[in-house]
């Protein structure tokens, strides 16, 4: 028996014992979401679940009944999405970009809920995202710029 959930605004199904990250990539054609460790320790697979950033490699189908999942493919449908994308691009936040989908969804969840988050809050929000290329400062600069842009336009 499959579970029905909302994926980027449209109905989708998943087997109860299946893992969302794998299903997104292998069955639902959403390869924007990356899998980096499969045990919730790198954050490359972050998606929004009812607006909150969670590791999709730890989410199983049975947890999704009736819930809304937003992946990186739908980033710019979020009110903060386009400004966030612009700020991160302008600051050249990433290098290889493989962690980017996860980092972007973490920040999208953060700014959607707390657009005025302070620097300490920004850092804490990113503690579940591993980036191997940048040393994080470019990501933090991009996030701070996104916060400024969001503030300016609100």
């Amino acid at each position: 028996m499959s579970v029905t959930f909302i994926l980027n605004g449209l109905p989708a199904t998943i087997a109860p014992e299946a893992t969302l990250a794998t299903v997104l990539r292998d069955d639902l054609g959403r390869t924007g979401t990356k899998i980096g460790c499969e045990i919730g320790r790198c954050g490359a697979c972050m998606v929004l679940l009812d607006g909150q950033a969670v590791n999709s490699c730890l989410l199983m189908g049975w947890q999704l009944q009736g819930r809304a999942v937003t992946t990186i493919e739908a980033l710019e449908t979020l009110p903060v999405g386009s400004l966030l994308a612009r700020a991160m691009a302008e600051e050249n936040a990433f290098q290889c970009g493989y962690c980017a989908p996860g980092v972007m969804m973490t920040l999208a969840g953060l700014f959607s809920a707390r657009p005025d988050v302070d620097d300490a809050g920004l850092r804490e929000a990113l503690e579940g995202n591993i980036c191997r290329c940048t040393g994080y400062h470019s990501i933090l600069r991009g996030a701070a710029r996104a916060r400024d842009l969001i503030k300016e336009t609100s």
Binding site: P16, E17, R25, D26, G29, G32, T33, K34, G36, C37, E38, I39, G40, R41, C42, G43, A44, Q52, A53, V54, N55, L58, L59, M60, W62, Q63, T71, I72, L75, A85, M88, A89, E90, N92, A93, F94, Q95, C96, G97, Y98, C99, A100, M104, T106, R123, E124, E127, G128, N129, I130, C131, R132, C133, T134, G135, Y136, H137, S138, I139, R141
Partner: protein
Amino acid sequence: MKILHPASLTQAAEMMAEGAVPVAGGTALQLQWSQGRARPAVMAEVGSLLPRGIRGLTIGAATPLEEIRRAGLPLLSEALRDVAAPGIRRMGTLGGQIGFGAGCLMPALLVLGAQLETTEGPRALAEYLAEPRGLILSVAIRPADRHGWRKTGLRAAFSPAILTSAFALKMKGSRISMAHLAVGGGPVPPRRLAGTEAWLAGQDPATLDPDALRARIEAEVQAPDCAFRSARYRRRIAANALAFGITGQLPAQPGRRTPIPARALPPQQTVLGRASGGERWQTRPDMPAKVRGQMPYLTDHRAPDMLVGRILRAAHPHAEILSIDTTEAEALAGVEAVVTHRDIPGLNAFGIVFQDQPALCADKVRHIGDMVAAVAARDAATAEAALALIRVAYRPLPLVTDMAAALAPGAAKVHAGGNLVSEVVLERGDAEAAFATAAHVVEATYTTPRQMHGFMETEGGWIAPEGDGLLVCVGGQHGARDRLQLSRILALPEAKIRVITSPIGGGFGGKDELTVQPALALLALKTGRPVRLQLSRAESTRAGIKRNPMTIRMRTACDGEGLLLAQEVALLADSGAYASLSPGVMETAMEHCAGPYVIPNIRTRGRLAYTNNGIGGAFRGFGCNQMTYAVECQIDRLAAKAGLDPAAMRRRNLRVPGSPGYLGQAVGPSERLHEMLDAAQASAIWAPFEVAPEEIPGTGMALTYQGTGLGTIPEDEARFALRLKDGKVQALCGLDEMGQGLVASLHAAVAERLGCARSDVEVIFGDTGAAPDSGSTTAARGGYVVWKGVSETAPGLSARLLGQAAQRLGHAVESLCIVPGGIGARGANAPAPLLRFADLGDVTAEEAHYAFPKSDYFKGNARFLFTYGATLARVAVNRITGAVRLVRLEFHSAAGPVIDMASYLGQMEGALIQGAGFTLSEDILMRDGQMVTKNFDTYAMPGVRDVPGEMHVTAHETLDPGDPFGPRGAGEIGFSSITPAIANAVADATGRWPATAPFPPEEILAMSEAESAA
């Protein structure tokens, strides 16, 4: 697995009685599964039946941890900052944490006197932990007057616990009326410290003896050893944390000891960043796609007829293969092919330096990641099931796991020819005589880790038959060489193999050698269908190339004035089971063993050993960073003995620009060591700075001096082309984009040289079918390859573009120039082109073929072009835990003109932090040929909380007049001297140099304690 949804707690209890495992957020269960525990047949979802939310001091069991983190509850909210990470805390529940039993939060709950409501009635937390029964409904806490909490892990945040401790005190006036102390976390059973609690009652924390308190706690804590930390360390940090938390007292601390260098004027420096960069700061062309998740990585490709591959790895780290039986696997429905060594048409061997690694093992396995067979099936589950049906009979062989033992007479042999892979010996002058007369001699043995590349995209991709050949789409760092190696294995002409290697989700050297290509290619050939495969992180950890562990014994002497006299170096490096690029790594280490210093008497020997410890090979730094760690610490040790500051000691011994290199070879111009020392001396980093009361401040420096390119021995050439096609200036360059900024650099270099806009440029790269062979994307050679290729081709293409435009427009060539968008009038004010590139028609390619600049020394491998830098570090050494916190990092670099500012800055910052991981937290532990560290749960790459608050990167961009070699490589220099800079800062703080990386906190703690006692 079956998931039940009980309608009531009574029904849930019935299901559990029949064996169903209760689940709420599921995070703890999933971690257990990943660590090897079997998944239950039946789970009962109980989260929706349990109370959720916080009322006063009572917390519903189904409340997510993140909600508690933000609730401002005494102690608990603060403690939760250190538990997991926000994404997991949003799923995990408090009830689940307690049900899991060993969560690191337990000490906090214990000292808060947590009382549980359960389906079996009310219970104290301690009772429940001892004998869990029923489902937890809610948790009530009872705060005291003062609280404290500390979690120590493998890094600053999001780590398994080494130890957590907490305390809660009720006060009557200045005296303690009730004390609760508890420890737990990781393998430490959560429990209160009743004896110490009783001893504390009635005492005044301000006047009680902290040493006596520490001794009591240390005696009472029960903690085990584990592979990562000792029991003694756990007891010690529990005692330190609780005693400091309760009394606020630590022994007095002497000040910093390294003499501060005299101030110097800084060299010309470009500060890198968007704010300071102006027009030079451009958005990289790959960035818009990357921030939107639209970059098409090779592991993302899916197609309807595509099969899924899986690889069977060795069951033993060293064993003879007696037989391989694939009959059952082949018979499984959905399996399309199984391949073994019997399916290899060509040479069953590969390797960049020499071909000692089997594509699929035939007669023996030499490490736990060795490939024995592979399966292609309709889906992943079928392929994995088929692996389990392949029967391989082994006869285990004696293990070779210690480098020194591997080279001792009579050792078991990993390869028939013996375990010595290679040896490099160099003697010059009379070292013994010099040591005998020296004023100061220092000796230490430096040990460096088996660091994992940790690229976020694990090894993988897809391979498909194409015509009578193959299309190979697997991340790599030199497509043409991958093609050559595959051609040998498959007995297929190179012309029939097209290799696409980009874009890549990180490489760092770990994708330089073949990874999954041989297995995937054999499967694609046998099935006639495309096959994809991406290693799981666990498999990547088990099978992937790692940095070669090394021990470097170094003895160095100077005279009374600090002038270096002699150095003796004995290096042992672990190659693992195969050579790959390890001989090059070892040789590079030996090439850098005097650093940038003049040492007249040298006696050095480096040996590389085969073992059964996985595989070693290329990794950013490539031997240089390990040797620089040793050299730059020796310099500071001798400076201390000679009474010199670190800069003065270095200045006294620096090589003279233009003089022969360490091997006597000619070296390139534009040496910038003095400028980098000036930058170090000009820095404000030496000034005093504030740290927390429990920390000791320290500042240190190290010089960077690293050769670029492959050296004199290997072929090191590049082809390059530039053309106008479909309205775009196309740069054809066979290098790979791994994130370092190849594409951005080409856009920048072409635009600057031609005069067009960056957006007029398009790059064809990482594809042997479309781009020429530009050599490997390694050894920081890309910057030169890009610059030289553009320099060679741009003038010719420019002439052709202008000529063609002149014809079209009927203008004189001399009256035209290239402008953004196309061809414009020379001297015109308006930037708009007279003729757009799109309207100009295609212009044939201008091609170039050139060699990376080489030196004149061929007795060994020698570099010609070098890069220079100075790394400076401010650290805070924690006196409770021995952790080293990075406060500020500065990197001053000199690698010639910066091609693309954002890419350059990214390479520097990223290398510093990757190097900080090498220095402080990263190591793949192995025991008996097996990885103890299996995934990112215990492999501690730096997270955002580990990086310093401040990082400052500068570039000194000048070249000597007439220097024809342009920009030097930028990929590695950031890594070279971060470890000794941090080590020297630790020595400033504690008076002792850590000689093992990653620095063991237990050792650092002992250093800081000795310092306090001194």
